[in-house]
Symmetry: C2
Subunit: 163 residues, 2 copies
DNA sequence: CGTGAAAAATGTTTCGG
DNA sequence: CCGAAACATTTTTCACG
């Protein structure tokens, strides 16, 4: 189930469009067109292509965790015992399946995984960590840090030039 | 520059809407309405309110870092020397202003900040860390982990019930 | 690739319950 | 608050330069 064709590098127009929609994807084609001096159909065509080429991965509403009852953000670094492929896949899947795991990175360094959790309170956190780490059997050590302030939370990416 | 009114708890309809738009906010009002058994105007009104109440923080396109030339993701934990308010604000602002800093959390524990960087290559990473940490004068220690795999990268939040 | 205009789809407002 | 219908805007499609 294949990737899309990834030919056609991004030109300045594309970068400009991307730069705008990654801030607000409800911007109308007309507004985009005006800002970058292109016609509306041209913008529409480019957007369509950027989406089908998976340059734009998805279009989403970002919610306020505080406002939907998940005021607690936690960062957990996890070291595992056994790095055999199967064991690794197992625990990876475990993280993927867990709703409270917002982000998960497999990293180099003195730890193996880095997780970002979003939960309601410490009680939920403890239940979670117990089921994710203690019951897993493959976790050597985990260290939890509580986020006191989410200074910056972005999915935005710096684009080449775009003057 | 006030917060919004935060009255009115979310009912099941709201949660259902949020659950859908946080996966895809280009879903049409009609489609939303059909899925949750509500009329189109009702959905529109609710969405509008969720946005003005900042339950929905923003609406964005999420880009593929690999496809726009930032294949490297790094996680950096930073310990600072001086936690006086002014110093803290200064370095916080520094992180905020840096495009490559995608996420920044101020945390408890054996480290003070946790940063997520998105860069083109190691050379850019080194330039960045130098300017952010070494030239800052207030950084005691920083430790960089390279993400070998972005297992899960979500901004989605678990919502109360929503059956 | 741009333009312009028409057609289709979507979003918004009005108003009576 | 809801929903039906009228209304406004946006998106898409197309023929042509």
């Amino acid at each position: 189930m294949g990737k899309q064709r990834m030919n056609s590098r991004l030109d300045d127009f594309d970068c400009h469009i991307l730069d705008m929609v990654q801030r607000n994807n409800l911007t109308t084609h007309r507004e985009l067109a005006d800002h970058i001096n292109l016609s509306v159909p041209a913008v529409a065509r480019r957007l369509q292509k950027l989406r089908s080429d998976c340059v734009i991965a998805k279009d989403i509403s970002v919610l306020n965790p505080e406002r939907v009852g998940n005021p607690l953000t936690l960062i957990v670094s996890v070291s595992i015992e056994n790095e055999a492929v199967e064991q690794l896949n197992a625990i990876t899947q475990r993280f993927l399946d867990c709703h409270q795991v917002q982000q998960c990175y497999y990293v180099t360094g003195d730890t193996d995984f880095l997780l970002m959790l979003s939960v309601y309170d410490m009680e939920e956190c403890q239940r979670l960590t117990r089921s994710l780490f203690l019951d897993s059997g493959n976790v050597k050590r985990f260290r939890t840090a509580v986020s006191m302030r989410r200074v910056k939370v972005s999915m935005a990416v710096t684009l080449p030039r775009t003057p």
